[in-house]
Symmetry: D4
Subunit: 248 residues, 8 copies
């Protein structure tokens, strides 16, 4: 209403947490139900559609979380938000191609629980950044431990104390995907494996990493290849439970 872009019936729909615009549909009810922010996947959408959806998200849920955003998408989001809600806060993470927008009056949640995010190398940046964004938006205290691939095991061992301070840990790895297994063997927190679509030839595009995590000789669960959002959200759901338990 503020921006003069929503009709009354659209506003009503938005109040119930569900909005449909020409650019697509935005379902904030899911956010209410599980505490997981709805993400806008920029891949396969035009910049204008993404910009429009981001504004709808801000108006419906108070914030927008855009993933896989190319430069044109980021520009479109910044432009559309600046136009409709000039006071809103827009944060762009270049490495992970994530954009987060907060309305002026949005009060982000804060959980008393720590999510660890571990990666083998720089090529894991996009899914790890997505996991970071969603877990952070859910309110978790996120700690990153990067560049600790299994071929240089000493670097990982140097960071074990950082990892042991976490309540739940997401471990991203491409190629042979062994890192979650090694990490889980060192911790007593739950570990979620996040396979990354690096690698080439036989078993490439994350297949070897995916299968390796499913075959792990230690205890862990996994998400699909490059599903950084899902991994971060699952860690966030666990963190919410722990936070609630601490608050009892």
């Amino acid at each position: 209403m503020a921006a003069g872009e929503l009709s009354v019936s659209e506003a009503e729909a938005a109040l119930s947490g569900y909005a449909t615009t020409d650019a697509g549909r935005f379902d904030a009810a899911r956010e209410t139900r599980r505490g997981v922010p709805e993400a806008i996947l920029a891949e396969g959408k035009t910049p204008a559609e993404v910009g429009s959806l981001a504004v709808t998200a801000v108006e419906t849920a108070g914030r927008a979380l855009v993933t896989r955003a190319e430069h044109a998408h980021r520009d479109a989001v910044e432009g559309a938000v600046a136009n409709a809600h000039p006071e809103a806060d827009v944060v762009v993470d270049e490495r992970s191609r994530v954009v987060v927008v907060h309305a002026l009056d949005f009060e982000p949640p804060a959980l008393d629980a720590t999510v660890g995010l571990v990666s083998a190398g720089t090529s894991d940046a996009v899914p790890l950044g997505e996991a970071d964004a969603v877990a952070s938006e859910m309110g978790a205290d996120v700690r990153r431990v990067e560049d600790v691939g299994v071929a240089s095991i000493a670097r990982l061992l140097d960071r074990v104390d950082d990892l042991r301070a976490c309540d739940v840990v997401v471990v991203a790895a491409g190629r042979e995907g062994a890192l979650p297994t090694v990490v889980a063997g060192l911790l007593d927190a739950p570990v979620i494996g996040l396979p990354v679509s690096t690698g080439y030839g036989h078993g490439g595009e994350g297949e070897a990493a995916m299968l390796g995590m499913l075959q792990s000789c230690t205890v862990l669960s996994a998400v699909n290849v490059d599903a950084g959002f899902v991994a971060g959200a699952q860690a966030g759901l666990i963190a919410r439970r722990i936070d609630a338990a601490r608050a009892e």
Copy 2:
């Protein structure tokens, strides 16, 4: 020593939580590290080997957890335990083919956290029973909601309140594997998908279920096909964190 079957050096190894016998190796140190009991997979071992390993486990860790036990394996475990530790407690679950042995003085852990176990039908019994056994042995309060397949959605909806009372939920499903997605859409607790190797022809032996859980349009993580032990242990690790948070 008690049973006259361990040499002194073997007993010392056992004290450090690691024992090797003719029947194989038993690593109780892993149990100490993550709180997950070591399981003895009966499949592919002779009854005598399984019986011997169960005795070693009881002597090393205070308990034994045997999975995929055929009748001959169960008889061998009962016989070997009765011989070496007549006072130990042996519980056999016929449906899930799991045997649990507790030494007389074993004090099982108890967690202030609830693990829900959901299944679509009777063919999920083996992996669901494994998940039950390991989560129970880790001390979780386990609640089962069975026979709620998606083709009869009303039966599942009748049980939603039971599910909403859980801290973490494992959902087993074979065939098309849709149940974890539907359940996760109804809850705000973390959900772990457990694909089961039912099904036939194209996508059979759990492949469709596995892929369906990885592709889920809601937030969940998954374990490998029939990995009931891993699913239950991951739920147990989460339950341990929640129990610890409640105790803070």
Copy 3:
């Protein structure tokens, strides 16, 4: 002959329902045989070829049905038809990329039978629109129930009465492809599963959805990934039989 573009021999071929032009071949005999309109798949053809084939179709069969048409294809069809048959009716569906052309004197069939079309989300629009176009062209009374994915089961349950009014139902779903199974469990009409090539990583591009429909624990048949035309035509063939039975 009307448009001065067909030679006598070509016209004779057209009368027998089969025409070959420089742009390709058009087989209206198939249409006569099964009542299913021949579709012109624009993908992989030049706009000029598609425009030319559409004109041939109108001249041979009285109508043209073009699928997977990009903007250039649509423009070419509109231009070619406007030039050759200015009085023909051209309808473009932007979302599903389908173009339908009717000659001035074309009398569309009308069946006394209802085809339901169900989809999980907006990403199913293209194949669902193709199913709609072909079933409608065959004369069925088409009813759409959209945006009822299994992760928000309540929305689907709200629409059950609409679905129970249909004689045959096509259910499109990508990702884990569970929707046809849930729908078939609620109805006694035949259900045809239509997997959609959404999804990513392991089991992506419709593979998990395809396998999930083949593994369904209820009764349904399926078509290939994104085969909206085939699903709609199969529903149309069933509708034709029911219409004929009603007319007996």
Copy 4:
């Protein structure tokens, strides 16, 4: 009650169409819902379990339909039924390994609709027989056209008139699975492809047939490999709709 084997509470459950015994669970409610009889898959069950389930089915739904029954299963069914319900009618089809039991007072449905069943060769007997059994039990008028593989096309052409008299046609084929495509090209009734797990080496066990049916260049839908029950039931659901239309 008659046989003295059901307790009162079990009998009540049976009246609501759902029974659980030591041998497993039998869900007649599904039968009520869609008109498709519940089948008892003998494969993987002991003869005693199958015998017991067959008796439960007769008592719950008035009939039993057992598939993939080896000799021992058939003997067990005959023995268990003879003991509990000596007056019941038991029919065994050796070729397709299907057993059908009708209680004395069971009144089978009869539909005014014809289901055609086509096969390429003798190796299709098991799934074709399953399709026959379920469609017949649903009341359809079943007509079989066998031994008309595509490598001897003349034999198929001799039977076209028989096929054109059917309302819906199930076509079974193994190896390269081309028969449904050729049949569908000759008819205007809906065709359901049923791939059979013949074949060897690359693409064997029904894979080539399954893929060939999904890739068919004509209109048809398909079920999974060897899913004779599903194919027959889908044809039965269509026949029920046509029968109802004829009765309007």
Copy 5:
């Protein structure tokens, strides 16, 4: 030497049937050995490279056979040949993207043997044209029977006499790939299956067709997907043997 482009040592190499230029290597010795002309695959090469290789081929073997040539490749070949050997004969087949060049004094072989080439539809044009080109260049009498897909079986039956006049038959088919099986069932000549990369979704890109030919329930051999050159050359090798036998 004629064109002033080969050094003496290069000419010597060419006489022995093997030439290496900056654009690549050309091995006419293979041509001498088996009578199969070396083809220049344009795909993945620059137009200049293809033009240069074509000239080398003409100078080494008396002719050039270029496949998968885009417009730019065809122009480059015509330009390079016109420059170096203005009197050479260049024939371009637009549909199959094949270019054939004959030196002025090249005497093409002529075999007393007939190769039949059969296709299901227009989408088989490229590999069928490649088979045509190589078999024709080997000297066979090539006869084409096109547009006889199995979904319209009558059209194929109309052409049986044409097919029975052939010594060996290549049958191209995409989608479900059933045509070679049906054709082989009608003939006593050897049949070579040529799968084509049409089709989509599950089993697409020629996979279903490839597997269907390997699983054929009649006698035939097959080549890889889109391997029109190999299929035509294999037919040519058989034709050469038959020609030789006729000449004995």
Copy 6:
């Protein structure tokens, strides 16, 4: 009639080359059509069925060709034939598990054409023997060159002259399946690749061999894994054409 086992109507069916008995169906018309003897695949049939089919084959076509015969099958064939046609000739090849039966008055065809059969090692014996049996039964002059695997290339080179004397060559190979490529590079006769299901682990059961033959960098066609019968029959069809050409 001779054996008193066929009724008059059965005998009439047999005269037209098509017989159906309790043991199955035997189609001698195919034999008439293409000159390829119908084979009886013993695998998956009982000894009694195979014995009965062999007798039917002898009575219908004058001979029987049984493949994949275990000892019990061979005994059953010998017994059944001895009983019904004591004067018939039965030849058993232990290595390839093939049994050939000729009626007393059967006149085997004789072709003026040579089929070469090449194998890498002793594990290729079964499919190579099947190819031998069918090509021999079709009348070809069969020459075998065995034990010439590519890892010992000298042994193959020693036999090149033998191979060059053949009109068509079948080359069997398992594991990496390279032998047909090497052989085809040495000959100008057509080569048919026959992959064998040796090998283990990744690419085992003939997959690597199958793919290697389809990818061959020289000209050859292939049959499916272990399809010795098809390879031999395809070679026989080529030999028949060459024989006919020699006879012109």
Copy 7:
């Protein structure tokens, strides 16, 4: 000759290192060529065949190396050798199912080079034992480092000095197959990955391990799943080169 079992012509063949008996063929020439002993794979052979081949091997090459030997195979080898060459030395390794026979006068080679063999757990025993047997028979100094799986990284780090003393290292691992990557990251010797067919469900039977080794983010080469013989022989070939270099 000694055992009275070889004819003169057979003895001559044996002298040239190549013998064929009823039980099969034994090629000692390969042994001479590369220094790798020919192994007799017991799997798929009868005990009698394996016994006979072992005697032939001893007579031809001075020794026999039998792999995948079940108890019956071992008994047959011991019996056959005891009969023919009572003075020969027979060593059976129960865990790895390998039998090694040395003739009385056989002088085993001895290399001045060390081969390390590393394994994750007891389930790697069979392929690791095969690697041990062949490398030892080639004369290498073999050192084993067992039970050092990546889920308990400390145990591996304790053994690094042992590994650094090796010239070449074979690392066996099943499940996720990460161990070779971690080991290679710690050493400067060449590492050969040996995937083991443990694991279950998705990526089981060694697939994940195989792909993980091919995708390793460090430098290593790999052999096929369970190819312990090949891994050991490749290590042996490297050891031979190093030994020769040391001897220069």
Copy 8:
């Protein structure tokens, strides 16, 4: 420091062999550990990033090795190096798209060991060139034997003496990938198979070659498809061991 581009802390990091810049991370410690130069994979990076990383590599390790460099990457490397270290030596290999840069004072290692590199054809140039670059940079004496594909076996046999002079041999092959098997059968040096992503259709993109090498019926190990760097480095590690042994 020389180029004024590194801060003091960056220089310290560089001294310990590990540098992180805006363009990415460069880990020279790995080079120190195993003697294998770190490669900069240009594919997927911008020219500017590659140029910057090359300068960092030269400053950290004394040299840079860039693979998969397109023209723009090569120009960027030449420009960046010319700017920062004008005296450095830059060598570009057009065919294999490899760039090697040596600082003025870099002293390349030299090993007394020979690495053979064998290829089937010109399409193997890129991975073979990568193997050449890394083995040469490690100091090996590299000898190339090219264009010796198995379809023209004589050309390979002509080069056997060259191959027998090598200490270790890398054999690249695409399509059916048979060359390493044939080469290994001729040599007693260790052979490393390098599959190349040529080929098309079924088994294309190097799959058939990869599987063929894993299934080889002789002794060899393999690397992943197109992993020229890994193959060359593994050969280099073996060469280093042999050189060290020669130096003892």
